[in-house]
């Protein structure tokens, strides 16, 4: 959530513009037909319109990968960075300009493999931003190499006889990091759930981590096929402080009441794996936020000079 306009360097005037989803559309997205990234983009544009976020005060940051093309397709500010480093860049933007509304978009290789160190630390910093992991269980852009979230046994170009290890669970890993404050899971093929999860994440004051199960029809067409087709395989986490969609409950037969402030239970739910669980695993707005703790006074050049002169005096001969 951002404090729009006015706080740090804003205009101070009431903004009379209103924005439709189209106002947030950049050039035509160049993902493959059927790619789940399209659905996520639509969900995000819907959120932007719903919340009427000012395009000029919103920044999308990404790394490298199919998913990391995301910023190019949203008509806000954006930084399409380097592989694995979306979170440091986003951190820098938010530390410099707490008035901006920052989104980070990453792929599973990007976030969980090369970016794993930054991921762990960004969870801990708990800086207020909305963080989307577009998890297609594969390296898309480089054409089908095993990622940490690739299911064990799934064949790729680097592990052609099947992935050796059990897949890393990003939800469980996030929940293990001290100061984690918001952890949710949704899927590209459930637009309303996606939308509500994005809303909840964006409303959360802190590092809101959303893992989005994302279909890649080119390289992992089989992985989410069943889950997307057979509603019986999904379990929705339901709670007044979570994501609760009455309409969806008609579609998905399995719903589980889960209090997202219970981190122990969240970890337990992340562990057991008979169903794909969608919803908010954990959310607690009470965690320490680094950018808040680091707020600094605004100084004019003259004030700075005065303070600096005093500083230099300490070294006077």
């Amino acid at each position: 959530m951002s404090e729009n306009c006015g706080t740090l360097m804003g205009c101070g005037v009431e903004d009379e513009r209103s924005f439709s989803m189209d106002d947030y559309s950049g050039p035509l997205a160049r993902w493959c037909p059927g790619c789940g990234d399209h659905a996520v983009l639509a969900g995000v544009q819907r959120l932007l319109a719903k919340e009427q976020l000012k395009p000029e005060r919103t920044v999308f940051v990404s790394g490298i990968g199919c998913s990391s093309r995301f910023p190019h397709y949203v008509d806000t500010y954006g930084f399409h960075g380097i592989h694995g480093r979306a979170l440091p860049i986003a951190t820098g933007i938010k530390l410099a300009r707490p008035d901006l509304d920052v989104f980070a978009v990453m792929g599973d290789g990007d976030c969980c493999s090369i970016g794993a160190g930054h991921w762990i630390h960004a969870i801990r910093y708990n800086i207020n931003m909305t963080v989307l992991l577009l998890d297609n269980n594969i390296y898309g852009l480089t054409k089908k190499q095993t990622s940490p979230t690739t299911p064990q046994g799934f064949a790729s170009n680097t592990q052609p006889r099947g992935s050796f290890l059990p897949a890393l669970d990003p939800i469980q890993t996030t929940l293990g990091v001290t100061n984690a404050s918001f952890v949710a899971q949704t899927a590209d093929w459930v637009p309303s759930h996606l939308a509500q999860t994005l809303e909840a994440a964006h409303a959360h004051p802190g590092f809101a981590f959303v893992r989005i199960l994302q279909r890649c029809p080119v390289f992992t067409p089989t992985i989410f096929e069943e889950a997307a087709m057979n509603t019986d395989l999904t379990e929705l986490l339901e709670h007044e402080n979570g994501v609760t969609d009455e309409a969806l409950k008609g579609v998905y037969p399995h719903t589980l009441y889960h209090d997202p402030t219970d981190i122990q239970e969240a970890r337990r739910l992340a562990e057991s794996s008979s169903k794909v669980r969608l919803g908010v695993f954990y959310a607690d707005p009470g965690h320490a936020r680094y950018e808040e703790l680091r707020a600094v006074p605004k100084r004019t050049a003259e004030e700075k000079i005065a303070l600096l002169n005093a500083e230099i005096d300490r070294y006077a001969v």
């Binding site: 360097m9 804003g10 205009c11 860049i89 410099a96 100084r299 600096l308 500083e311």
Partner: protein, 635 residues
Amino acid sequence: MSSTPPEQAAPTLSQEAGHSVLTLPEHILEVLSDSGEGAQKCGQSFGAVSAKMGNGAWTVEIIPAEIQPPPRTPDGASGVRIRIGTQKITNWGNRTKLAIAFNDQVLLSRHRLNALADDAIILLDQAPENHDNPQVRQEWIEALEELSSRNYRLIKVPLEEECLKIVDNPRQGKNMFALGMLSWVYLRDLERVKEQIAHQFRHKAKAVYERNVRLLEAGVSWAEQNLDFRFDIPTTTPDEDMVVMNGNTALGLGAMAAGLEMCSMYPITPATSVSHFLSESFDRLGGMVHQAEDEIAAIGVALGASFAGKVAFTVTSGPGLALKTEFIGLAVMTETPLVIVDVQRGGPSTGLPTKVEQSDLLAAVFGQPGDCPKVVLAPSTIEECFHCMITARRIAETFRCVVMVMSDANLATGQQPFKRPTLDPRWQSVQPDLSEVPVGTEPLQWDPETGLSPRLIPGQPGGMFTATGLAHNEGSHIRSDPENNQRTMELRSRKLAVLQSTLKPPVVVGPEHADLLVVGWGSTRGAIEEAIEKGQQEGLSVAALNLTFLSPLQPGLGEIFENYKKVMTVEINYSDELDQPYINAENRRRGQLAWLLRATTLVDVDCWTRVFGQPLCPGDILDVIRGKLAAGGQS
């Protein structure tokens, strides 16, 4: 920024209160102790007082590799060398004339490094001679035997014994006693010394201050009663306000004076103390030190902050610079202003973390895959450490480019008095203007001549764009066609030529035509210029040139070089020498600046370099100059 080395005036002898006082234009002294005994504090206080009294001064820390090395080991020697003079002092000089050593073993380390003049006066704590532990006594005997190979004047001092009269733990007293001795020997103004002590212990109880003054005074009176020599290094009252600090403090102050607002870093010796200094004060000025989880994140955060409208910087050393390589490329490609300070240390790899080297030059200029034009500059004095940050910030912003500032471990911990900078609000960065831009404003609206373009900052309505490290056009839209790629590389490269066109040719110190020109960069400047000045006094035909800009190089080098029969660089990095097995002129690996100059000017630039982990001595450089000139015609 030129330096005037102390004149080699003949010493004069006078008599004062029964002691001979030798008046000298300069002197070099060292204080040596086990780690934790405070030799550095003693030496730094002495240096500061000397500067305040109006001496030129240069201090160099002697830092052991371990945090708390075992006591009484040569490797564990901790201390400081101070060179003071009537005039400005620009380097650590040659060999030490007077040393106070808190034990025989730390003294040995300096002896073995040939750091002490043959006729040095040595004040050595005599406690080990009669130590309870027979091994210590044996070591003392062997040490004295080893030291006897030189003509040192060795004076035993009851340092520990005297301190025990005042404090229980002599480890926390000897340094003040030593300061007292030095104050007497060098005729320091005792009031100033006490002020310095008061400042140092300002956060401590009054009793602490008083105990230290008692130690100080005990040192003074012991010296008065027992020593038969004093040195007067005449002071000159500076005609302008002066400050004294080390290079890392100067970099930090310079960063604040430049209006930099974020220092995003990861600890690494010898760069870290820049951030220690800033952590104390930066946030009061509205700035921030962010200690990131690693060097990659450190530069990434700085880049993000710069993108968002700040000009941020990161400070690092060799291994950290290596890790930042990929992000440097992204900053160049997205034309995001960024200042990177590299406080160079001994390499390669972890190398010699606390020691000086100038071996990152080519990595800075050429180290990134792909074509990464960027600005590289090097301060050569503590004062320049301050001012270069202002230059760096301004270039980074004006040219939307990466500016690398190459300092080193010698500047980092060395202290030197210099003219107090008069702060200028115009040095501060201008707060980004977030006003709306007209439709169609491009994020990279390159001037086709200069490659320059104004920045768009998040918050500006109408300016929305996505920065990208992929090849892109003026709209920052991904493009892979040949013409666009060729043209955008051209424009990024052009900025360096434009900057170069605004630079002045560097100024030679010494004759405009001569047999030899010695070229250097960074912290070696003082030693080189002192060497050539000495050489000129000997009648040698030699001049010196220091280069501040390494990328782009300043104009006019070719023409300058034509005026000298021979050109060589002197650097603290590695080069093969021609008399070594297998080495010949063809396969010789040369000093890093020498490489740059040869490729640029096609002049046969020779080099003399050493990787001793130490600053260069003017005397050694002078020897090289003599040798090079003696070698006659063949260049």
